[in-house]
């Protein structure tokens, strides 16, 4: 009889674990981390393209040193601001990361405006290829950011609803994650258009 009770108790514990959102919250957090991995990868992809772009532009637009330096500097700064998957609930760090990437974006778009003045550069096959790659990368960043924000939304909601909030408070202690916010003055991620 005592044994039966013990089985019953174990069953109850299982029931509670699946009913209280313990697993759901863990899964949602993993989803956020996975989505963040994509965000990082796409930003990294953009960073990898930049030296090539700068070199190509340099060959044609010698008088735009300032703009080029700004891009190079922004790239260097982005390199120093790393966000680990476990710091996604730190608003300050997240803001820093976002600010660095945003300054990168604006330096890039300034460069691409400058390029308009150099028809030979625009007709250069190498540059046209780079444009396609950059365009694709910006689009990937956009997609990755949107998906990350969706994952964060799901996660943040899941730790706040009842009874998950109790489970979280007593067992998991997960904190809400930071979503990307639109850059001031821009409703969406900068689009590189030619």
């Amino acid at each position: 009889m005592g044994k039966q009770l013990r089985y019953l108790g174990l069953g109850m514990v299982l029931l509670m674990l699946s009913g209280c959102g313990y697993n759901v919250m863990q899964q949602n957090e993993e989803a956020v981390k996975a989505a963040w991995g994509d965000v990082e990868a796409t930003y990294q992809r953009r960073n990898d393209l930049i030296p090539n772009l700068v070199e190509t532009v340099k060959a044609y637009a010698k008088f735009e040193q300032d703009t080029l330096t700004q891009v190079t500097e922004a790239r260097a700064k982005v390199g120093t601001v790393q966000m680990s998957k476990d710091a996604l609930d730190d608003p300050k760090k997240f803001e820093e990361f976002q600010a660095a990437q945003n300054s990168m974006s604006s330096a890039l778009s300034r460069l691409l405006v400058v390029v308009e003045k150099y028809p030979e550069l625009k007709a250069n096959q190498n540059f046209m290829d780079l444009q396609h790659q950059l365009e694709g990368t910006e689009n990937r960043i956009n997609v990755a950011r949107t998906r990350y924000n969706k994952a964060v939304e799901t996660f943040n909601a899941s730790i706040r609803i009842f009874p998950n909030n109790l489970t979280n408070q007593f067992l998991l202690h997960l904190k809400a994650k930071e979503p990307f916010k639109a850059a001031p003055g821009a409703e969406k991620a900068p689009q590189v258009k030619f």
């Binding site: 044994k3 089985y7 994509d38 396609h132 790659q133 694709g136 960043i141 956009n142 997609v143």
Partner: protein, 266 residues
């Protein structure tokens, strides 16, 4: 104050309508000519070609033309369509969407994650710039689509080979099937009860046999808690079920897209 709050909520109510995006049409097959750009004979040719291509190479290429994007950025619209139609197989992510908007004079090749290696943004961009665009500019839409599809097929050829075992359900992945957590739990609970009963009868027999090692008798004689094993079995069955209903025409398999590809205009 109350008025302010009320008007705020009224404003919120309006929001979804003001930002409503262009609707996604239903998939009709490999070639979805909602924009009326392709002549019927070429449309049939393209559909046959794409069907055959999927059979031999497993890659799904789907064409969609629309009259207008209704103000949406082409990148936005194309990824929403690609996701809604689930182009490509799950796990292989080998889908391609070739989207053309007639009035906006814009197009995009949206490339599934699994094909990004072969059909890079660069290759997709060149196909648009060098193959499709000149024909579209000359008003030869039939020629543009035919040449574009050939170029896409050439570019992706050999990236994946069709495997006969899983025609549309994708490869077998344990636990990948959508078994609801509740179902899983009920099954677990079922086993639990079963085990308890078995253990009890075993215990009684043990008692009759005058207490051998009781612990070994109750648990050791049976396989360990069978959650993982039986869970896997269940989801395979689900997989096979979903794979068997592949009718004619195009059916999406849940391929993933990450925003790869290229856009252009003419």
């Amino acid at each position: 104050m109350k008025k302010a709050i009320a008007s705020f909520f009224a404003f919120l109510l309006l929001l979804p309508f003001t930002v409503e995006a262009a609707k996604i049409p239903l998939p009709r097959g490999y070639v979805n000519d909602y924009g009326n750009m392709i002549s019927p004979s070429v449309e049939a040719d393209l559909a046959a070609k794409l069907k055959k291509f999927e059979e031999t190479d497993s890659t799904q290429i789907v064409i969609l033309t629309v009259p207008s994007l209704e103000g949406d950025p082409v990148e936005d619209y194309s990824i929403r369509v690609a996701e809604a139609w689930k182009i490509g197989q799950k796990g292989k992510d080998n889908g391609i969407l070739f989207l053309v908007s007639r009035e906006d004079r814009k197009m995009r090749i949206e490339v599934g994650r699994g094909l990004e290696g072969k059909l890079t943004d660069l290759t997709a961009g060149r196909i648009i710039d060098l193959v499709v665009k000149p024909k579209f500019k000359a008003g030869d839409f039939d020629g543009g689509f035919t040449a574009g599809v050939s170029a896409l097929i050439d570019a992706t050829r050999g990236e994946f080979k069709a495997d006969r075992k899983a025609p549309s359900g994708g490869p077998y992945v344990p636990f990948a099937g959508g078994m609801s957590p509740w179902l899983a739990f009920l099954i677990l609970l079922g086993f639990f009860v079963l085990f308890a009963a078995m253990a009890r009868s075993q215990a009684r027999r043990d008692d009759l046999r005058r207490r051998g090692s009781r612990r070994g008798g109750t648990w050791g004689g049976y396989p360990p808690f069978p959650g993982g094993y039986y869970g896997g079995g269940w989801s395979t069955r689900g997989d096979r079920d979903s794979g068997s209903d592949s009718g004619g025409g195009f059916s999406g398999g849940g391929g993933g897209f990450g925003g790869g590809g290229a856009s252009g205009d003419w």
